[in-house]
Symmetry: C2
Subunit: 204 residues, 2 copies
């Protein structure tokens, strides 16, 4: 039987080396690792059975959504996608789900769970750590609309009401309304609190 080929994608080089070392130690896989920029090249050259992606890496959202932008194919092959996730970030879980990830492994779990997840995903089966189940439930009832989310995301980048309005082709009053409804829905005390809550959950 051919060895399972695993590609670890992580934006921080020391972390991808560490995860690769862990997989070489704990499982019998053929392991490679790469950063965002060389992801496409590695995927093309290695044809990995499983891609391991850390959802908490900055830039993961863009990586997983690659397919929808610029007409470019997403560099991560969706069939064998396994993500490292935390239960407290339902937004990130949802993003991975929408990118058709097959494996969801809790970062707060044991290396053996990761090895088991990789084996499952390599066989084309779904693998979800039970400790992430509550996060999925949270993800299913995201209270914000796409508009409210994009207003919050721009505010989080430091844009003023007027800048957000210009950027989204809305009136200042409408942006204020979206901001107010988003703040109310997530149970925040004010705008800054709303940004903190939605960022913490991985929604923006």
């Amino acid at each position: 039987m051919a060895m399972t080929r695993v590609l670890v994608l992580h934006s921080v080089s020391l972390m991808r080396s560490a995860l690769a070392a862990l997989l070489k130690t704990e499982g019998s896989f053929e392991v490679s690792s790469a950063g965002w920029r060389s992801a496409r090249r590695y995927v093309g050259a290695l044809r990995p059975d499983v891609c391991v992606v850390d959802l908490d890496c900055p830039g993961t959202a863009a990586l997983l959504e690659g397919g929808e932008r610029d007409g470019e194919a997403c560099p991560v092959p969706r069939a064998g996608l396994l993500v490292l996730a935390s239960a407290g970030r339902p937004g990130a879980l949802r993003r991975a789900f929408e990118a058709r990830a097959l494996g969801f492994v809790d970062k707060h779990g044991s290396p053996q769970r990761l090895v088991r997840g990789i084996t499952k995903v390599a066989a084309g089966e779904r693998f979800v750590d039970e400790s992430l189940a509550f996060g999925f439930l949270e993800a299913s009832r995201m209270p914000l609309t796409a508009r409210e989310l994009s207003v919050l995301a721009r505010a989080a980048e430091g844009e003023s009401i007027a800048e957000i309005a210009r950027g989204l082709h809305l009136s200042n009053g409408t942006v204020r309304n979206y901001m107010a409804s988003a703040t109310r829905k997530v149970g925040a005390r004010n705008r800054i609190d709303a940004i903190r809550i939605t960022q913490g959950a991985g929604w923006v």
Copy 2:
């Protein structure tokens, strides 16, 4: 010669296992790993020569400042402290410097640099990755006062002006003044932008 004892401290269990696997593969160290809660116990039992701490972990600031609060000794032995850092977060670098870290290893570097850093720190020598030099320069000219920082930190938690004023025993006007001066000093467009910039730099 006795083997160097290394203790990896990381809040995410999969990441500390991965870093431990990397160090076992790349160097000839006696490696253990622990999370925040068991840090003190592990340090006491193992008497590590070097403690490896990731500055980007949530809770690292509290861990490194442990000594100053509650009269409790900091669980991390300062003599052999080596931190994993990024050049873009000068605030975190400064915190590690103030916690008397001896080793500063760039997370975007190679595993061999980490091994070299550990060997140096175990010998009681300082080790600083040159790629972090610019971060240290930035860290040396932090523009905010302690008051401005604490106002921003509370605002980032979602507190209103009135709540911050009550918490810090200041008037609302004074809090507004601190907020305005902090926003101006970091070159931010507004309060939310000021929080984004200072959090990104690791100052709060």
